[in-house]
């Protein structure tokens, strides 16, 4: 039984094919990277995994159960947590309440508020937001919001955590902190699927990477292999690596 498996997963928007017959397998316990240029269908794929978008064709299996046709909350209750790319906290609530929503509703028998409140506080401490627990999220900075987003997903005790660009718009120091956090989460036995444009982080912490281009899978391999895959280099990495290389040389010189 595979942990998470996609077989010929596709999504059409009218005539537009956003995700085109993608096959992939995520093993239990790994950090699985998802990369590709803008519009490659990465977020669409995640949206299908947790049920926000219906799957147009193909099948998705999580621990042997078919995800096709399930509602988002049902998928969440199976143990899949999600952090959004454009952070979507509930603006009118405090940070603590935001996390509590996940705490209360994230698992099948609903938790009571007291228990959830305690769990949420712990989770906020874990991501380093204890001090801002009671402030309205509208006032939080971007890095804080990203942390909150991760906390909201984690508090549901997921078996699988979907992270959508949690490191974009962070400075190098903050990226380091976030990388550390992701590996820490992973070391607790939570499988992670992450979309990330910050190649430094992806290459460093992912065990395997799936590369999408125009909705098609063009590679799925270890970071090492990916960085040498010709097609990947041509369509996506090339440009970035060239830039990275150039930068590296400049610093060396």
């Amino acid at each position: 039984m595979k942990f998470l498996e996609g077989a010929g997963v596709s999504r059409y928007f009218g005539g537009l094919v956003a995700v085109n017959e993608v096959d992939f397998i995520v093993e239990k316990g790994e950090i699985f990277g998802l990369i590709g240029p803008n519009g490659a269908g990465k977020t669409t794929l995640l949206n299908m995994i947790n049920g926000i978008l219906p799957i147009s064709a193909g099948k998705l299996y999580f621990q042997g159960q078919c995800l096709n046709g399930l509602k988002p909350h049902e998928i969440t209750h199976l143990g899949i947590g999600r952090a959004f790319q454009i952070v979507r906290p509930f603006e009118g609530l405090t940070a603590l309440q935001n996390v509590m929503v996940g705490g209360i509703f994230g698992s099948k028998p609903r938790k009571n508020t007291k228990e959830a409140s305690r769990g949420a506080e712990e989770m906020l401490a874990f991501v380093g937001l204890s001090e801002k627990m009671n402030s309205q999220v509208a006032g939080l900075t971007i890095p804080d919001r990203k942390r909150l987003e991760v906390a909201r997903a984690l508090v549901m005790n997921p078996k699988l955590l979907l992270l959508d660009e949690v490191m974009s718009a962070l400075n190098p120091k903050e990226v380091d902190a976030m990388m550390e956090m992701v590996t820490k989460v992973n070391s607790q036995g939570i499988t992670v699927v992450m979309i990330e444009h910050v190649m430094r982080a992806t290459m460093a912490i992912c065990h395997r990477i799936l590369v999408l281009h125009h909705g098609r899978r063009i590679a799925m391999d270890t970071p090492q292999e990916i960085s040498q895959n010709e097609e990947v280099l041509k369509s996506y990495l090339g440009e970035r690596f060239a830039r990275m290389e150039a930068e590296r040389r400049r610093t060396i010189d």
Binding site: G51, I52, K71, H73, R88, L93, T94, L96, Q97, V101
Partner: protein, 332 residues
């Protein structure tokens, strides 16, 4: 000494004591009003309470859940007609008809809610408006409701003072019950679920909330109290016709009250109802020709400067930047 309630909001022991005192005094005053004031003011206040109930009704579905049920007057009319039909054609006593009105409204809203609450906000808004128009037309074309001729309910026996006091207390208690209900919701997981749905329905469902049952529950509660208010109104007025109970103006007025007082707050809509009715009263008696201008301007100014309601402003230091905060946040 800061403590926290179950949802992690800070409360202060001293503050709570002072609040309770003020609250108790107000409540007591509200119960004693009919002893001190004359007919008109009792009626006026009963009217305010009725709008308080209606505003609280939309507060649950729109203020908490973010679903703009612009046609919520539908349940008011439904409640009024259930009561009127039961009392005139079946000789049912008022308390029974009253209960039946609430039940009717809930059954209707729950049934139809499962269908139309799948719609996104703006479509839901129009669907409710169309529903209330549809209900008006259906009632107009039925025989049992008297059609466009309306229905005359049995008279409430007793003198003018008895009648006024009865409806005053009925409306007051209904409003308090409704507010208490919202207070309970606000403190419980339901309130969190409602607000999560309001702010971002997709995110809410990813966090394990199944929106449709929650939305339907919110609308059902909303319709329950609105239906009760309609039932009491019908008995109070003694005559109803479709034009009276499905009027669109009150429908809009209750939104004005909710937003002015503060959408998604426990007491805001009640404060809004009090404020609006007071202003209307002043506007009517002094500036008859400018009444729409005044009410309209208040509405515009509210939207511009206090989009979160008056309750959001109290206790804050008044500065220019607070004054223009709404505009700074919302302008394009």
């Amino acid at each position: 000494m800061a403590e926290r309630d179950r949802l992690g909001r800070k409360t202060t022991a001293g503050g709570a004591w002072a609040t309770r005192t003020v609250f108790g005094v107000l409540l007591l005053a509200a119960f004693l009003v009919p002893l001190a004031l004359r007919g008109y003011w009792v009626r006026l206040l009963a009217n305010v309470f009725m709008f308080g109930i209606l505003a609280q009704g939309v507060n649950i579905i729109a203020g908490y859940c973010g679903y703009l049920a612009l046609g919520n007057i539908l349940f008011f009319g439904l409640g009024a007609y259930v009561t009127a039909v039961l009392m005139t054609h079946f000789g049912v006593p008022f308390p029974v008809a009253f209960a039946a009105s609430g039940a009717g409204a809930v059954i209707f809203s729950a049934g139809i809610g499962l269908l139309i609450l799948r719609l996104k906000g703006q479509y839901f808004l129009m669907a409710t408006l169309a529903l209330s128009e549809l209900m008006r037309e259906v009632i107009s074309s039925l025989d049992i409701t008297g059609g466009g001729r309306g229905l005359t309910l049995p008279m409430f026996t007793g003198g003018a003072a008895t009648v006024n006091n009865f409806f005053y207390y009925l409306m007051l208690l209904l409003m308090l019950a409704c507010t208490f209900c919202i207070w309970l919701i606000d403190r419980s997981y339901l309130g969190l679920a409602f607000k999560a749905i309001k702010f971002d329905e997709d995110a809410a469902s990813v966090m394990g909330i199944n929106p449709p049952p929650y939305k339907t529950a919110a609308w059902a509660i909303s319709s329950l109290f609105t239906g009760f208010a309609g039932s009491a109104f019908a008995y109070w007025m003694g005559y109803i016709d479709p034009g009276v109970v499905f009027e669109i103006t009150p429908s809009i007025k209750m939104y004005l009250m909710m937003v002015l007082g503060g959408a998604g707050t426990v007491w805001g809509p009640v404060a809004g109802a009090l404020f609006i009715e007071l202003v209307s009263e002043l506007a009517w008696s002094r500036f008859m020709e400018y009444q729409f201008l005044i009410v309209g301007s208040i509405l515009i100014l509210t939207c511009l400067f206090t989009p979160k309601g008056l309750m959001d402003l109290v206790g804050k230091k008044f500065t220019w930047s607070l004054f223009t905060k709404g505009i700074r946040e919302n302008k394009i």
